[in-house]
């Protein structure tokens, strides 16, 4: 049996539990700043650096892909804007005859399509937006005019 639990205990500690009272007086200890920095280095900073690395990679990829796409588009569009260079020597008679035959075939096909889909002059008047067809793809008769 412990003697100190009874009146002895009460008299010394004024009725309070000495263990609890002293534990409450225990000071909070301060986590060292350098240890805290190590924690942030291993967690948030590592993540932030990794994030920046991925952002840099993404930016580099965007620049390379964008440049490649722009170059490809320019290569495709340039002949339309600038026109094709004139041949150094005039085409032969056979080449001219072949091209004329091709053009005639295309004209016939185009005329057939216009007739098949009912795009007549009256249709074009009623739906001005279809004039794009007229201006872009004039009929053989209009072209001859």
């Amino acid at each position: 049996m412990n003697d100190f639990r009874k009146p002895f205990d009460e008299s010394i500690f004024d009725g309070t539990d000495p263990a609890r009272r002293m534990l409450r007086e225990l000071p909070t200890l301060r986590f060292p700043d350098d240890a805290l920095e190590s924690v942030f280095d291993a967690t948030v900073r590592a993540r932030t650096v990794a994030g920046k690395r991925w952002r840099s990679r993404g930016l580099a990829l965007f620049i390379v892909a964008g440049t490649a796409a722009a170059a490809a588009a320019a290569w495709l569009i340039a002949p339309l804007v600038l026109g094709r260079p004139a041949p150094a020597t005039p085409p032969s008679d056979a080449r001219v005859a072949s091209s004329a035959a091709d053009a005639e075939t295309i004209d016939r096909a185009e005329l057939g399509l216009r007739l098949a889909f009912g795009v007549t002059e009256r249709t074009l008047e009623r739906f001005p937006v279809l004039n794009l067809l007229k201006t872009s793809f004039p009929s053989p008769s209009e072209r001859k005019r």
Partner: protein, 185 residues
């Protein structure tokens, strides 16, 4: 000295919440580990490991005050692992000077320092004589103010058993204090 803060510019939301949680609870967690282990250096390692685990599990832990029981549980388990690894079962040499030097108190007067050192020395010396589980329950309940239900979750004990453990631990500490001739101020 101001606590260390990382610049919050361009930070993801979870990183900012993590930082706030760490700054809020770091001293609590460190104190728990230090008094449980009796050694500031070991406590520093354990606390760092626990805070890194908090980062890894940040999606599953409520930030801010809600992370306190979770962190205490992690620190408790890490500290007990270290104590078990120590050969004598008591862990490490109790270092009251090292602990008192880290007391987070704005008053740095010599008298106050001496009083702090005396308190830390008395309590840490008495705590070191208790079993690790008794130390843990006293620190959780009487120093850090955890609720019984939170402690029961941390320790994996039924509530009734836990209250009994706390009561017995207080009695043992009281015995040790009285045996050492300690008188509260």
């Amino acid at each position: 000295m101001q606590p260390f803060r990382l610049p919050a510019v361009f930070w993801p939301v979870d990183a900012a919440a993590y930082q706030e949680t760490v700054l809020l609870l770091k001293d609590t967690v460190f104190s728990y580990a230090a008094y449980l282990l009796g050694n500031a250096e070991e406590a520093r390692d354990v606390t760092q490991e626990a805070l890194v685990r908090l980062w890894e599990r940040r999606d599953h832990v409520t930030p801010g005050e809600g992370a306190r029981p979770w962190l205490v549980r992690i620190v408790h388990n890490l500290a007990l692992d270290r104590l078990r690894a120590a050969r004598n079962g008591r862990g490490f040499a109790v270092d009251p000077d090292g602990l008192a030097a880290l007391a987070a108190d704005g008053d740095t007067s010599p008298d106050r320092r001496a009083a702090l050192r005396e308190t830390v020395e008395a309590i840490s010396g008495a705590l070191a004589l208790l079993a690790p589980r008794d130390r843990g329950v006293l620190l959780m309940r009487d120093v850090h103010g955890l609720r019984y239900d939170e402690m029961a979750e941390v320790l994996g004990l039924p509530l009734g058993t836990l209250k009994s453990v706390v009561h017995r631990a207080r009695e043992r500490l009281r015995e040790k204090l009285l045996a050492a001739g300690v008188r509260p101020a």
